[in-house]
Symmetry: C2
Subunit: 227 residues, 2 copies
C-alpha cells in the first residue's frame, strides 16, 4: 500500500482537536489558546502543545509558540466535515431510531469518525437533507458551507419580544432534560413577559403557559424574534 504526498487520513484524536479548535475559534478562525483547548477536551495543556505541533506539520493549523493555534482552510474544512457527520448522525438517531435529543451526543461522538464519503452522502439523502440537527444547530453542507440563521439568546432580547425557540446553546443532557420536563421544545413560540433585574430571571409565555426561568436557562436558549 503506497501513500502519496498529501494522502491524509485523520486519526480520531486529530479530528477531535480540530473540532474543538473550530468551536473555540468561531467562524473567523480566531487563534485559540492552549489552555482553552485543554479545558474543552478534558486533557492537559502539554498534550495540546504536542498535538498543535503535529497539526501544524500537517498544515491543518497555524501554530506559533505561546500564541495559540488557528485553523487553516484545510483544517476548518476537516473540522466542518466532522461536525457535519456528527449532526447528521444525531439527526438519524432522533428521526429514525427514536432517540431523545439528550441521548444522542455521546453516540454521535463515536459515529462522527466513521470514514466514508459515500456513507454520509447517502445518510444525508436518507434523512431528506436536513438543515438543522436535533438541537437546532446548522448542518454544514458537503462543501463545508454553514448557513447561519438569525437567532439571539433569550437573555439578550428586550422585554415583550416574541419569537420562535430555534436552538439550545448548551446541549448537555441535564439541560435538555430540563426542557423536556418543562414541556419546552424547539419550534415553540416564546414571549418575554418580564425580566427581573436582580437575578436576570425571566417570566415567559411558552405554549400559552406562563413560567419563570432563571438567567442560567435564558442564556442557553436561542430565539428567532418574529420578523
Amino acid at each position: 500500500m503506497y501513500f502519496y504526498g498529501n494522502f491524509s487520513t485523520m486519526t480520531r484524536s486529530e479530528e477531535n482537536y480540530l473540532k474543538a479548535i473550530f468551536h473555540l475559534g468561531g467562524l473567523e478562525h480566531k487563534a485559540v489558546s492552549t489552555n482553552a483547548i485543554a479545558d474543552r477536551m478534558e486533557t492537559k495543556p502539554s498534550s495540546v502543545t504536542d498535538m498543535a505541533k503535529k497539526l501544524s506539520e500537517k498544515g491543518l493549523v497555524a501554530y506559533t509558540k505561546y500564541k495559540g493555534v488557528s485553523l487553516s482552510k484545510k483544517g476548518s474544512q476537516t473540522a466542518l466535515s466532522v461536525i457535519r457527520k456528527h449532526r447528521l448522525w444525531e439527526t438519524f438517531l432522533v428521526d429514525k431510531l427514536d432517540f431523545m435529543w439528550d441521548e444522542v451526543h455521546e453516540i454521535a461522538e463515536q459515529l462522527e469518525h466513521i470514514q466514508s464519503e459515500k456513507l454520509i452522502d447517502r445518510l444525508d439523502a436518507f434523512l431528506g437533507f436536513p438543515k438543522q440537527d436535533p438541537h437546532g444547530d446548522p448542518i454544514p453542507s458537503k462543501k463545508g458551507e454553514i448557513q447561519k440563521e438569525y437567532k439571539k439568546l433569550l437573555a439578550d432580547v428586550p422585554v415583550a419580544t416574541e419569537g420562535i425557540c430555534v436552538g439550545v446553546k448548551n446541549s448537555s443532557a441535564p439541560f435538555l432534560r430540563y426542557m423536556d420536563k418543562n414541556s419546552m421544545a424547539l419550534g415553540d413560540t416564546i414571549e418575554v413577559l418580564e425580566k427581573e433585574e436582580f437575578d436576570g430571571s425571566l417570566q415567559i409565555k411558552i405554549r400559552n403557559k406562563q413560567i419563570r426561568i432563571s438567567n442560567d436557562i435564558a442564556t442557553n436558549l436561542f430565539i428567532r424574534p418574529n420578523e
Copy 2:
C-alpha cells in the same frame, strides 16, 4: 476516573482479534493457531502472541504457549456481539441506504465498533429484526444465539439437486460483483444440471437460464436444497 475490577471496555483491536478467533475456531471454539490469526488479520505472528496474552489476562481466551488460543464463553459472547453489530449495519446500509452488497463490508468494519447497546437494539428494530445479513449470513441475537440454517456448498451437492441460493461463503467485493454481473442473487432457484469431473465446473440453471460456473464459484455459493 476510577475503573473497578472487571470494568471491561474492549478496544477496537481486541474486538477484531476476538472476531478473527471466532471465525477461525468455529462454533465449537476450537483452538486456533497463532499463524492462522496472523494470516487472517494481516498482521505478524509476534503481534498475535502479544494479544493472546492480553486476551488471556482478561479471561476472553484460553491460551497455552505453542498450543494456540480458544475463546472462553465471555470471549465468544463478545465476538458474537461484534458480529451482530457488523451484520446489522451491513443490513442497514443495503436496505436503507441503497448500498450494493459488495460495498458494505469495509464500512461495517468500522461501524461494528460503535459502543452503545441501545443503538444496536434500536437499529435492530428499525430494520425489522432481520435474521440474515445481505450476504445470507445469520445475525446473532442480542443474547448471542446464532441460528444456523441448513445449507450446503453448491460444489458439494449431487447433480440434479435443486434449491435456493441462500448465501455466499466468500463475500469479497470481486466475487459479489461477479454474481451481480451474471444476474445471480440470493433467493434465486438453482439447479445443478451437470458436473465436469476434470475441473469441477458446473452447468447450472439459475433464473431459468443456463450458465456454466467454475469450481471456484461453486465452492463459494451456499444452496438450500429443496427439502
